[in-house]
Symmetry: C2
Subunit: 337 residues, 2 copies
């Protein structure tokens, strides 16, 4: 089968940053599905791993990355009970296994959902990683309760990005929260408003803009951009007993004590935790993907797809990575096979 | 009225580390109760504030510290609705106001509970600060659910201290958790076992002892001793999606990224947050104290009092501070007026 990968971590402009090659089609065992891929999407984790996985070394066999995918089940392992051959599925996969930048991929059924029926293949491919991240952030880390937490305020840092785009919607439509999203360009601000953000603010003057809105302090802060850059302002604008969640992290140590007097809670959200550690509740991702799919099919959530590149080629994968690396992409970028 | 306080932050052995003096009895307004104090207890926060509040300065009027108290309502403010004159009450008070090391004290009714009827005055004085801290840690920060979380494992670092002593009991009896407590001396280990800890381990060989118990990783870690000292081992032994709570803090920045791959949550618990920021749910402390009182009256929780000093004197207050400063006190120390 055809696959695209890399043997070295190279700048995306390098001719060998991605290479096309042939490998054997894998065989599913146990809980695995063999999926024939129809479309994939690209996320920041893709270029971060491309840039770091083969630094100062040359791999013997190319590394296949990419995680979001939609496709059709072609074969199933002996323990599979949730899906059958012919089912259309979507998933974000497992960071520790071979990726979706290939014609076929193995994926554990417990982290796979049924493709939302009313979405196009490209629209569906855009959802899994960001949908799981946003859902887990709101409902597994913060444990937002749509009844008791109704009207509480969440600040989403990076509203127009992939995770922000689905999170704005889940926070409003499922969480019943008041959503303030950051976006600094007119086109990204407009995107956030169209997805349902109650307010859009510029991240460069966060405190002042929140003061103007009458939300000087917020109940929840979600960092989808850069934890270290926002740490001090987050500690200022979080309410007493509030909750901060980050998906980014900081290579430098942080002054955790800024959270102390207010009894603030901080969580990391990493959607690969469940599959990486094979947690007891790993199959919750199956249920989350199905739940999000039903909300999309019912029109309660809007697709977050913004850019579609047609053809599973090295050139298109490079384009998608370049767009992610720019930090300016709005919504999601998909490659349709 | 008689009060004991200090004008300078001095070593406890200094003759002027505490001084006795007379001030006017205060008048209650609004939600305040005027309480005639019958007993107080001493916590680590007492000596920390004594050591820092008047460093390199001499105050004009002595500072009155001390927060835990039990006593009788002698007068009420015009907005008081929960208590009447003559009620016996207990409370940990408000860090921003004058303390309990006095004959009378003002306290907001919303952070005050009814004294548990079956406990002695000394036993009751030992409860509020540690009880509120332990309750908020388990049920407001972690939000332990006694049904769905039944049998999950909590590691309590500092099991024999004031907070540990009540937390071991709440975690087992109310939270339905399996409790592993740290204690390094035979007498402190025995104390933890008597309070219901399922296992007692030595903090100096935490990982090895947990391995031996078959609990190499735990769901929750509660730090009641020193956040920085336990940060790295806590990141190792916490389960994926686990929750760490600290009441201590760290003056140095910490590597938060150690929590990232496991999507771990970290909370500070500071029982003075609610009164310090006058949070909307400030009166939850009234309800928590009453709930803990009912559990004590029903015999479901045991008193944590260990040392009683009789007489509200400078000498006894110095003794109580010395014991706290040693770091070796077991359970609680109370001064009976």
């Amino acid at each position: 089968m055809k696959a695209i990968g890399f043997k070295q971590s190279l700048p995306i402009s390098d001719p060998n940053s991605f290479i096309e090659f042939e490998i054997e089609k894998p065989k599913p065992k146990g809980h695995d599905l063999l999926v024939k891929i129809a479309a994939i999407s690209v996320n920041p984790v893709d270029f971060k791993i491309r840039q770091s996985a083969a630094k100062n070394t040359v791999l013997d066999t190319p590394k296949i990355i990419g995680w979001d995918a939609v496709g059709t089940v072609e074969e199933v392992g002996d323990k599979v009970s949730k899906f059958k051959v012919g089912d259309q599925v979507y998933y974000a996969g497992d960071l520790t296994r071979s990726g979706s930048n290939a014609t076929y991929q193995l994926v554990d059924e417990r982290i796979t959902g049924f493709k939302p029926q009313k979405l196009s293949l490209a629209e569906a491919a855009a959802i899994p990683l960001t949908g799981l991240t946003a859902w887990e952030t709101l409902f597994d880390r913060i444990r937002v309760d749509p009844i008791t937490d109704q009207g509480k305020t969440v600040l989403i840092i990076g509203g127009a990005g992939g995770v922000g785009s689905i999170c704005i919607q889940l926070a409003r439509k499922v969480g019943n929260l008041t959503v303030v999203a950051t976006a600094s360009r007119p086109e990204s601000a407009q995107w956030c408003t169209a997805l349902g953000a109650n307010h859009v603010v510029d991240h460069r003057s966060l405190q002042e803009e929140l003061d103007k809105l009458g939300h000087s302090q917020v109940d929840y802060i979600l960092d989808f951009v850069d934890l270290k850059a926002y740490w001090e302002v987050a500690a200022e604008i979080i309410k007493p007993q509030g909750h901060i969640v980050s998906i980014t992290g900081s290579t430098e140590p942080l002054h955790l004590n800024l959270l102390k007097n207010k009894s603030v809670t901080f969580s990391y959200e990493f959607m690969y935790t469940r599959s990486m550690y094979h947690t007891d509740d790993m199959d919750k991702q199956h249920r989350i993907l199905n739940k999000i799919g039903r909300l999309l099919d019912a029109g309660k959530l809007k697709p977050t797809l913004n850019t579609t590149l047609t053809g599973f080629t090295v050139a298109n994968l490079k384009k998608a990575h370049q767009l992610q690396e720019s930090g300016k992409s709005i919504g999601k970028t998909v490659i349709l096979y």
